[in-house]
């Protein structure tokens, strides 16, 4: 597919009306629903005159708390899409037996599992952890903002437009059908000539860019913006895991960038990096993508482990057991995580010693991970365990994760992996960790920090119900998947037309039921949000410290003022806030100074939208549009550097007013 064969329309490129799937009822209905929801949202915003507010307070905001919340909202929206995909796959596999083709042709099914994987990893899990890190880190290290507030805003919008790009592919053209890591030659120009893979590549490229920017920013923040006295060995564990995660991001995402860029060049310009002919080698892509891909899964898991450490300590009413071990364990996971990538393709025949080496390295990771599990265990030991919702997620995680870790280690033994690789057993493994560790952690994090973000707690009843349904739903949905894997079912199988497979249908029916139970877990979470918002007055937190917690973010009000802390805190011990409470800290009520803060900027969203247009244009070969949008993009970015007026001072009397309001609230509740 070389771009210059047929004369292309300069404006529309290869985009024609045929690209719009109006003949496919499911998509038309989906589109109608999305369009209606969109119109409704726009109408409501206009009616309540919220545009200005949104623009000023959110879209152009450089406040790390706002940006963190926007990441999480994006993740929750994308989760609906990812989950819809999951349910569709579960249904397809449950019925496609006994000669039935199911209801999804290959063209759809293959897009669905690819989109599901991409969305869950890039646009649900990643934004969730980045959002939580963004919200929590500056507060935990006693800072007023991140190092680069403007880049923070830009990073968010890049992620958001990448998510939009994936969803545009649903209605204009198609999405990739090559799996979430998109390995050539299947995704090369010859085997996949359509636009699907291009959508995939550009979405990854843009979101990768956003993630790198975010990583640089948070890394610099943790290194440079810590409060006085907050040395590295006093850093809360969540900050430690975040530090390692952002280092991992900066070190691994460049490899994704290269893999994606070179594949784009192959497809667009006919280079020969990953083709089977002319000296290219697809295995080069496989290596590059997993050099990124394996660290990526630890990027997702480490902040989750950090959340559990915070939660376990707070709700056991006790200092975290073995802080130093935790730090070393975190760092070891980070380092070893870089030399295990080959375990994703033991089966390509690298030779026994290479496989053996990477297998050993992988198994090593079980040691520091195990240390973490033990440390949570002994944090509960001789504690006072309060079964609040975040703690329930943590306990459920500890039990679920043991299974996921065990199956992961089984995959790390090359000789065993020759049987397990690309079977549903592997699918079981990674959902076991993705759901049992990442999702549960993010649910715990949302429950735990919600009062900090919004000033009221989440109602616990529905939350606990959500824990139960998720946990049970997970096991019902994925234990049968493990079994199917051991029965020799391959991942990405759409139909089971082999007579010898017919006795397996029961497994997929149970798995589908499990997915619906998990769905109830999600629904109860949404109900929990809804009920809590309705009862927010009763659930209001005026103390700023509803859980009797231990780290700095709980020393300020809920929600924190724009400037986080009226005075920069000084830290003396691990768990700074617990230390302050124990040693009779009294809140300052006078002597406020003006506070220096960064100004909002529209560059982030404008540049991101231009990049969205550019990538869409390139996908469809609309060279004119691409050229114009790229030129505008450069202008906007350069123009931004001419702006020297990037900060302002919050006057001392405004600070004083905000703080005395808080004093009043604190006094009120006695």
């Amino acid at each position: 597919m070389s771009p210059d064969t047929p004369p292309l329309d300069p404006i529309f490129g290869r985009l024609t009306l045929d690209a719009i799937p109006y003949q496919e009822p499911i998509l038309v209905v989906t589109f109608a629903v999305v369009a209606l929801a969109g119109i409704f949202a726009v109408g409501a915003l206009t009616y309540f005159r919220l545009w200005g507010y949104l623009w000023r307070e959110w879209i152009t905001s450089v406040d790390h708390k706002r940006i963190g919340i926007m990441y999480i909202v994006l993740a929750i929206i994308m989760l609906v899409r990812g989950f819809a995909d999951a349910i569709m796959m579960r249904l397809q596999q449950a019925i496609a037996f006994n000669g039935s083709e199911g209801y999804l042709p290959a063209h759809h099914y293959d897009q669905i599992f690819t989109a599901h994987g991409v969305i869950m990893i890039f646009f649900v899990a990643t934004p969730l952890i980045v959002g939580v890190m963004n919200f929590v880190i500056p507060l935990q290290i006693g800072a007023r903002d991140v190092s680069f507030p403007y880049l923070n805003n830009l990073g968010f919008w890049l992620t958001a437009v990448a998510a939009i790009l994936v969803n545009v592919s649903l209605f204009v053209g198609e999405f990739s059908q090559g799996g979430w890591v998109g390995e050539p030659p299947l995704t090369g120009a010859e085997a996949s000539p359509g636009v699907g893979v291009d959508y995939y590549l550009w979405a990854l490229q843009i979101s990768g860019l956003g993630t790198i920017i975010g990583g640089i920013n948070l890394l610099a923040t943790i290194i440079k913006m810590r409060a006085p006295g907050l040395t590295f060995m006093k850093l809360p564990i969540f900050c430690w895991t975040s530090l390692c995660v952002n280092a991992l991001i900066v070190l691994s995402f460049p490899f994704l960038t290269i893999a994606v860029t070179l594949l784009t060049l192959d497809r667009l310009f006919g280079t020969h990096f990953f083709t089977a002919d002319f000296g290219g080698n697809p295995m080069a892509y496989v290596n590059l993508v997993w050099i990124w891909g394996h660290p990526e899964v630890y990027i997702l898991i480490l902040p989750a482990l950090g959340v559990y450490s915070e939660v376990a300590a707070v709700f056991s009413g006790k200092r975290l057991f073995g802080y130093t071990s935790m730090v070393y364990a975190t760092v070891s996971i980070t380092v070893i995580g870089f030399v295990v990538w080959l375990h994703h393709f033991f089966t390509m025949g690298s030779g026994a010693s290479v496989n053996g080496f990477f297998g050993l390295m992988t198994a090593l990771i079980a040691i520091p991970t195990g240390v973490k599990v033990y440390n949570w265990l002994f944090t509960m030991y001789r504690g006072r365990v309060r079964f609040e919702v975040p703690m329930m997620w943590t306990i459920s995680f500890m039990l679920t994760f043991l299974l996921g870790g065990l199956t992961g280690v089984l995959c790390s033994i090359p000789a065993a992996d020759f049987q397990l690789h690309n079977s549903l057993f592997l699918v079981g493994h990674f959902h076991n960790v993705a759901i049992g560790a990442i999702v549960f952690a993010m649910m715990a994090a949302i429950d735990y920090w919600f009062p900090k973000a919004f000033g009221f707690r989440l109602e616990p009843f529905w939350g606990k119900l959500s824990v139960w349904f998720w946990t049970v739903g997970f096991f019902v949905a994925f234990l049968p998947i493990y079994v199917a894997g051991l029965s020799g079912v391959t991942r990405r199988t759409r139909v089971f037309d082999d007579p010898s497979e017919q006795n397996l249908q029961i497994l997929f029916v149970i798995a589908a039921i499990g997915a619906f139970i998990a769905l109830l877990g999600v629904v109860f979470f949404l109900v929990q949000l809804f009920v809590s918002i309705r009862n927010r007055e009763a659930l209001r937190d005026t103390t700023g410290d509803p859980w009797n917690a231990r780290t700095l973010e709980w020393s300020t009000s809920s929600p924190p003022p724009e400037y986080n802390f009226a005075f920069t805190p000084v830290v003396h011990d691990v768990d700074a806030w617990a230390d302050m409470k124990a040693r009779g800290y009294s809140r300052p009520s006078e002597g406020f100074k003006p506070i220096h803060m960064p100004r909002n900027t529209a560059t982030g969203i404008v540049a991101s939208v231009l990049l969205l247009i550019f990538s869409f244009a390139v996908i469809w070969y609309m060279w004119l549009v691409a050229g114009v949008s790229f030129a505008l993009l450069l202008l906007v970015l350069i123009g931004h550097t001419f702006n020297y007026n990037r900060s302002f001072h919050i006057p001392a009397d405004v600070v004083a007013r905000t703080e005395s309001e808080r004093t009043r609230l604190l006094a009120q509740q006695g």
Partner: protein
């Protein structure tokens, strides 16, 4: 909680039906060793996983908020003895696991010649493995028997207790040959050759398929692997010889056109050079375009950093 309990029982049903899971009940010696390895590793890890799961529940319950009788030491956060155990136990387990990992990576390496037919039965000296050349096409499998001069599509057979040597490549995209009852899978990749050595111990029909996603027809890219007695195998070959047609470059190129759910068919005469040219990516083209020719040329020109890697795995 009642309804949850009932639902929680469903996985048990699933586990019970696992009793006939093929990976746990294989019929070839390599797969049997892989199964034993899986079970060994699981048992080894259970030594630590099970107690941890148990303690999690125990501690969470015993130190619950409402149990004021339990000891409460909010400042207790370090114990050197415990730390030693915490690091030590996983280290010991991983050492044992690591030894198994390393040795089996070598003994069960798919490139290694089969040395034993069953736990107590070595391969008799002088036995020649059965050669099978495998080509993954879109979306079907071509098996070429160079010694017998036959080829089959989506159907493959081997005599029991005779070592088999598969050589694999692919026509266009990547696939993986997977026959769980026989042995683990190995990728089949265009322009590259991989190997798989295995032996089947019990006669029977086993399921085989591609386990590396390869596009639209992937789900139906399965085949049957027959373990046959020596006599039955010879008959099977003779059948193919009697009924099959010829497979040369021209018919191969027709066969290679993507198709789904291809029925079983056989070829009686196979161009002996065919597999090599497929691997060389020059079926029906001038030999100058063959990968092996190009690589030989590269070698003459290459140097320094850009040394061509001939063995491209």
């Amino acid at each position: 909680m009642k309804p949850h309990r009932i639902i929680a029982l469903l996985p048990l049903v699933a586990i019970l039906s696992a009793c006939n899971a093929v990976v746990l009940h294989p019929s070839g010696d390599v797969a049997v060793q892989q199964r034993d390895l899986l079970l060994y590793a699981t048992e080894l890890m259970a030594i630590v996983i099970v107690p941890v799961a148990f303690l999690t529940i125990l501690f969470a319950w015993h130190y619950r908020h409402t149990n004021t009788k339990a000891r409460y030491e909010p400042e207790w956060h370090h114990s050197t003895k415990l730390e030693v155990v915490i690091w030590g136990v996983p280290v010991i387990i991983i050492i044992f696991l690591g030894m198994a990992t390393w040795t089996t990576a070598h003994t069960l390496d798919p490139y290694r010649q089969i040395t034993r037919i069953a736990p107590d039965q070595l391969v008799p000296p002088g036995t020649k493995p059965l050669q099978i050349e495998v080509v993954a096409l879109d979306w079907k499998w071509l098996f070429i028997y160079p010694e017998q001069g036959i080829a089959t599509v989506n159907d493959v057979a081997a005599p029991v207790n005779q070592p088999i040597e598969f050589r694999l490549t692919s026509s266009r995209v990547q696939n993986a040959l997977s026959i769980p009852a026989l042995a683990g899978q190995v990728y089949a990749m265009p322009g590259m050759e991989t190997e798989l050595h295995a032996v089947i111990n019990e006669p029977g029909d086993y399921r085989g398929y591609s386990s590396r996603f390869s596009g639209a027809g992937f789900s139906k890219m399965h085949f049957t692997f027959h373990g046959k007695s020596a006599a039955d195998f010879d008959k099977w070959v003779a059948d193919a010889k009697a009924t099959g047609t010829t497979l040369d470059s021209a018919t191969y190129l027709q066969l290679a056109v993507p198709s789904e759910g291809e029925p079983v068919h056989r070829y009686a005469n196979v161009d002996p050079e065919l597999y090599k040219t497929i691997l060389d990516r020059c079926v029906g083209q001038s030999p100058n375009m063959c990968l092996s020719t190009m690589r030989a040329n590269d070698l003459k020109k290459g140097n320094g950093l850009c040394r061509p890697n001939v063995a491209s795995n």
